[in-house]
Amino acid sequence: MTDGLRVTGLHKRFGDIEALRGIDLEVPRGQLVGFLGPNGAGKTTTMRGVLGLVAMDAGKVSWDGRPMTEDDRHHIGYMPQERGLYPRMMVHEHIAYMGRLAGLDRAAADKRAHQWAERVGLADRGGDLIQELSTGNQQRVQLAVALVHEPALLILDEPFAGLDPVAVATLSEVMEEQVARNASVVFSSHQLELVQDLAEHVTIVAAGETQATGTVTELRGRSPVRHFEVHWAAETPDWSPPNGSRRDAPPRTSRFVVPADTDAAVLIADAATYGDVAAVSFEPPGLDEVFLELVGQ
């Protein structure tokens, strides 16, 4: 039994298109999970399925070890991929309204709206209409709307898209704060470096199926290849490992992709017979390469 969100075997067909063909996703409480996949992989449909916006053909969505109920869904904070705000509502009014819909009383909703407007850096724009804000500031409002009721589960669909670095930093901080208060946070993003920095766990989906899930370290470790890099003290000698392929490298550096089961010590010893080795690194590929390997692109 898992505390938090557990999605198993989600299937969904839209006419002739099989959008989901068995999606599994786990977002335990107090954890930040990156939900990755190429366009059309089924991320948004899965999120909508969790929210109950789209009825699934098969599969289970459970919360804290039991089937998710409508009441549980009131405790979800959702930030959709295509932002959804009323253009002619004022910032504070909008945040408070969503708080009211999520079940807060009027006083609590007002108080939280002030707090969240301040937290996302819009304290002085509370009386402005949404349509008067820049796209970046509208996204800040969207974040405040998703968080005003302090949800137990936070679902963010492409939250970093179009944000400036300052807003990215704010959003990252807020997400970590939510994890710290034991919320389950799942987000999708195509900015894999950001995901690697933020998320401890990731789930990668492609063509409607879950391809891999685990910690970033685990997924990188599961790669069938390693990156072997040698920094030479002098000119780069004409050396390459017997079963490696060369990659572009700056002067006095050699980079190779070698099978994961390669003995690094043997490689280093062999390289040292060709030149003076200043430093070496033997690492699994980054999340971006792991992602490409898994989704077959």
Binding site: F14, G15, R48, L51, G52, L53, V54, A55, R73, H74, I76, Y78, P80, E82, R83, G84, L85, Y86, P87, R88, M89, E93, Y97, M98, R100, L101, A102, G103, V145, A146
Partner: protein
């Protein structure tokens, strides 16, 4: 939650410039109408025609008698022409200084044409004087003469007696018909645009995270409907206040008898049409498609309005009027005016209101069902065939 959604609709729509302007203009028109209408009759219709009668050697008592006969019909003044020659009298007539001259004889002198209204009054006076003289000559005493001159007691009656309140009744019926015709159109379209806005801005995804589609639908219909009622109340209050303050017309008590029916009908009309417009709004994702999808709704609205216009002054009990009164989409326009004209039986009123309530309930159920599947649909418009299938319980692919 329904209250929250409704309240948001009221707040955000009521503060738009267009709503404020339209309400302001309607109130101004409602107040200005009776005020202007009160001012105009004072200057025109209540002014009496002026007539000047020239007198040549006639007793003073004749003036008083002519004035008594013409009171309320003519504004008569007299001019003493006793010093003038016959040519001078004719010159006074030619110069329009006087309209006629009464000379001894008695003789009436006109310029070119005879004014029969003035002549009738003068003849009556001269006739009385003649009777007085002859009565005295016959030795009758004053009491007999007075008895003789007492006018006959004539009673009058009309085949089609005009009811003093009929004009007001027709006016109020017409206002009710206009309100039942215009309000669902204006505020129904507002409801539709509100649904399309929620779909096109994708805020619907966030809303449905917390709300059932039916809750959202009910809140929207009630909120926009309340706004329509608010506008109506403000405008009618202005009109009623203006009517009472200006004393332009007296509102007969019979009007208050059918005002509740007008209000109930308008509320029913707003409920059924707002729901219908919301349902149609959920079929599209772009405002550009709105006119196409709204078209069918105008058919019953126009039918009710035109049949209602005829029924206000014409036959309010024809088969067509009676049939359309029972149909929930036209009932809000026809029921009030038939009640106003006393052209409907109590059981028909009860049946109409029951059918209207049932129509609203049924439509809300169907719309709630369809709403669940159409709100998140984007892209091309959902066709009528798909709509029928959805309303029967099918799902969208």
């Amino acid at each position: 939650m329904v209250k929250e959604v409704a309240w948001r609709e009221i707040r955000t729509r009521a503060r738009t410039k267009s709503f404020k302007w339209i309400t302001g203009i309607l109130v101004a028109a409602a107040v200005a109408g009776p005020v202007i209408a009160t001012l105009v009759p004072d200057n025109v219709t209540e002014e009496l025609r002026e007539v000047t009668i020239g007198l040549v050697g006639v007793d003073q008592g004749v003036e008083d008698q002519i004035l008594a006969f013409t009171k309320g019909g003519l504004d008569v003044t007299f001019q003493d022409l006793s010093g003038l020659s016959s040519a001078g009298v004719e010159q006074a007539l030619s110069d329009d200084d006087v309209d006629l001259v009464l000379e001894p004889g008695p003789t009436l002198v006109w310029d070119r044409a005879k004014d029969y209204e003035v002549a009738a009054a003068v003849y009556a006076v001269l006739q009385q004087q003649e009777l007085l003289v002859k009565g005295r000559a016959l030795g009758l005493d004053q009491g007999d003469i007075t008895e003789l001159l007492t006018p006959a007691a004539v009673e009058e009656r009309f085949a089609n007696e005009a009811d003093a309140s009929e004009g007001v009744t027709i006016f109020v019926s017409f206002l009710g018909l206009m309100a039942a015709f215009m309000l669902p159109q204006i505020f129904g379209q507002l409801t539709l645009m509100s649904v399309v806005e929620e779909k096109s801005t994708r805020v619907i995804e966030v809303l449905l995270n917390h709300l059932r589609p039916r809750t959202l639908l009910m809140g929207k219909v009630l909120g926009v409907g309340a706004l329509a009622v608010l506008q109506l109340v403000v405008v009618v209050s202005g009109l009623t206040a203006a009517l009472m303050l200006t004393d332009f017309v007296e509102i007969p008590p019979s009007v208050w008898r059918f005002v509740p029916v007008i209000l109930v009908s308008i509320l029913g009309g707003l409920a059924i049409y707002n729901t219908l417009f919301a349902l149609l709004g959920s079929l599209i994702s772009r405002q550009e498609d709105a006119s196409q999808v709204m078209m069918p709704v105008f058919i019953p609205l126009m039918a009710g309005f035109f049949v209602g216009q005829v029924a206000i002054t014409g036959n309010a009990e024809s088969v067509l009027v009676r049939a359309l009164t029972l149909f929930p989409l036209t009932a809000p326009m026809l029921l009030p005016l038939r009640v106003a004209r006393d052209a409907i039986a109590p059981w028909e009123v009860a049946l109409t209101l029951t059918l209207l309530a049932f129509g609203v309930w049924l439509l809300v159920r169907i719309a709630g069902r369809v709403y669940e599947f159409t709100l998140l649909h984007t892209g091309s418009r959902i066709g009528w065939g798909q709509l029928v299938r959805l309303s029967r319980g099918a799902t969208l692919d």
